[in-house]
Symmetry: C2
Subunit: 306 residues, 2 copies
């Protein structure tokens, strides 16, 4: 048993910069180390898993290197529409938001739903209204503007308003997430995303869907996913990992490997996930070129891209 422990991800996919570019690589690893240090710091001070994953995701949302919060991609309309979710494995309580615009930290709104309401999920204009009424911090469009994301959007932007196929996006999936187990053995997971570049029609991906992109249960583990969301929804990927452990008796590693390397692979879905069980075991499989990721417990700590 090696608890507390935390793992985070900053998205999976094709690594868009030259991995030999040590400057940019350093920036990514620094950002991941930052979030890990803060999240793990909270765990060692006795904060709960759910508080710690919320903090780690907030830090990743505030970093414009990742496709969530500040660094969110552009939709087909040139806006930023963000989704997030959080789940507490000790109570099975959850909160989720979809289609937020202007909100600095979508994961905090999701956490507020978990803490203070009987609702699990809210979406769209009225969800934005909720965030305003609850005094969450809003930012202007310029805050969310990054040259890289704007360039990616310009490359994809088509003339057809009915453009629905995101395959042009290739495998550059964003999304950030964190999973943790605290000193009491409670697990939690949180995920936040700006979705897919040039997305249309108010598309909702897997990140805010409990059981698809985010899930936590003290009986099994906590999971946060990243990848081509539609495959993760159809595979109910996060809950699938949990069920393989609970009903088929698999270990965390067996279940996560099965889901990513066999089941997702067979569907030709791309992506990865991070998972932690109540004993502090961590697994971070992916079937893409790379996944920004890291973990930290009392004895180990690392961050990695490829």
């Amino acid at each position: 048993m090696n608890i507390p422990a935390i793992a985070i991800h900053g998205g999976s996919g094709t690594i868009t910069f030259n991995p030999e570019d040590s400057e940019l690589k350093k920036q990514y690893l620094n950002a991941l180390n930052n979030a890990l240090a803060e999240g793990f710091g909270m765990l060692t001070k006795g904060y709960s898993a759910r508080e710690s994953v919320c903090k780690a995701v907030t830090i990743l949302e505030d970093c414009d290197l990742f496709n969530a919060g500040k660094g969110s991609v552009f939709t087909a309309k040139g806006r930023h529409e963000m989704d997030a979710a959080i789940m507490d494995g000790s109570t099975l309580k959850a909160g989720a938001v979809a289609g937020l615009r202007g909100v600095k930290n979508p994961v905090l709104v999701a956490y507020d739903l978990l803490l203070h309401t009987p609702l699990v999920m809210i979406a769209g204009e009225q969800a934005i209204e909720y965030a305003r009424q609850k005094d969450f911090k809003f930012e202007s469009d310029s805050y969310f503007y990054t040259q890289l994301r704007h360039d990616q959007w310009q490359q994809l932007k088509g003339n057809s308003e009915m453009k629905l196929d995101h395959s042009g996006e290739g495998a550059k999936f964003g999304t950030v997430g964190a999973v943790a187990v605290d000193a009491d053995g409670n697990v939690a997971a949180a995920t936040s995303t700006g979705g897919m570049t040039n997305k249309t029609w108010g598309r909702v991906g897997d990140s805010p869907l409990i059981g698809a992109g985010t899930y936590a249960n003290n009986k099994t583990c906590a999971i946060s996913c990243t990848g081509h969301g539609e495959y993760f929804i159809r595979g109910v990927v996060a809950y699938d990992v949990s069920c393989l452990m609970e009903y088929a008796g698999m270990s965390l590693k067996q279940a996560t490997d099965m889901v990513i390397h066999q089941k997702l692979q067979k569907m030709e879905g791309e992506g990865g996930l991070i998972a932690v069980d109540p004993l502090g075991n961590i697994s971070m499989p992916f079937n893409t070129e790379g996944m920004y990721r890291g973990m930290k417990n009392k004895t180990d700590s690392f961050t990695q891209i490829l």
Copy 2:
């Protein structure tokens, strides 16, 4: 093996009319029989399970007795916001919509996503825009007005804009759904709902969430749920039934009874579900006073409320 077969529901909960009122009871049973006859008729003519469940749900949406489509409840703002989903167990393809207003048949938009796009889920204003661009039929507010739903809303309407607790709604859950297995042994599920009376903040329930309120997989079964949505989301109820069959080796009846009568009960969640497996076995458990429901295959046919 008794295929093809179809089962439908028109919501679970407290039965709000006097069950001795034979006139209203007759109306409900007629409506259910109608949808069953049409859905089963398609199956016997060789249509697929997914086409047949879509048809059955469309008929229930068009009947103002049920909380979906025409008979949808009023939100806190006095509007009608509808969610729907459909999943094909032979391909694991799915479509889902949330927060549609004015669309006559939300399930048809969900089915369109399944058939013609790589997307699984869309929500809110842009989803409405999608339905308009694709020429789906829209209706005016008067079409969706029913005296009963308006009265229910007036009873719940509070002065507080921040009213979040839907518990006042008691156990009068609406929602309609259908599950079927066709002559080829393919299963499918579809669900459609107007959500909860007086709902706020763009609340999304379980109906449009793949794995929560709707799921289908030829390996196991097809499921459509009805009840207090938040518990069905947190329990990932529909996929849980599937996993108990696939990983724990349970029969359809064992898995559905376990999920509704043990797991949901333990969470103090209220509701029910309908499920069919590829052999044509049907299960329709609920833990509320009643559930509008029915089934039909070559040898059996019934509709029931209590």
